[in-house]
Subunit: 130 residues, 2 copies
């Protein structure tokens, strides 16, 4: 299955779960993952079957728990918006009370810090070795 | 279990699912639901047990499908943000390519149209009679 070019260009490959490909948006401030269910032609959450939705939620849970373990966020944002790119994708984002957009939504705001490419390897290794 | 006063004041009761209370935000432009899992002390998606997360996803799916049937959205937004109110709640929102915030996130923007209170009864009746 093909991933939309905008999602591909905006993020780094991290790991393939049974349903979704996990990718990391290179944001220097906030740890920001995308989960992209690898099923053709899905736009909305409810386009997935019940089994797929349960699997998706298990994958969201796993990503949330790894972020909590390693990045100590004040809050997690979990969101399927897809107004920009119609292909179904779920954002899982670590939020902090002093981050650049708090308490507003983070989409559309620009990071203050440069992204460290070591983050890609860190998360690839972490999910590979689970 | 108590629902945070800000969530209560900002929305109308619609229906009690097995896990979540469904509430409607009175937005004159976009159909905007909240699902509030009725479990004490939950802040993030991953604070729920696996069974509860599966149930939540079933309730999200159901709300999505009723919105699609009755409001013909271009896209559905499903999001757990909770930066303003820490109690876990999930937004399920009908989005349109010509709505006031498209393609940006809708949080923080103000409706152009007045809310019609008949919507509350419409959705209450619809979910009651399912």
């Amino acid at each position: 299955m093909e991933i939309h070019s905008k999602l591909l260009n905006d993020s780094h490959f991290i790991y393939d779960f049974p349903l979704s490909q996990l990718r990391l948006i290179p944001d220097g401030d906030n740890t920001w993952f995308l989960l992209i269910p690898m099923r053709e032609g899905k736009k909305d959450w409810s386009d997935l079957s019940q089994d797929e939705q349960h699997q998706l939620t298990d994958e969201i849970d796993l990503v949330c728990k790894e972020i909590q373990k390693h990045k100590d966020p004040d809050k997690l944002n979990v969101a399927s918006l897809g107004n920009m790119v119609p292909q179904l994708h779920i954002h899982v984002i670590a939020r902090y009370k002093d981050d650049r957009a708090w308490p507003g939504p983070i989409w559309g705001s620009v990071a203050n810090n440069e992204f460290d490419n070591k983050e890609v390897l860190f998360w690839q290794d972490l999910f590979k070795s689970r």
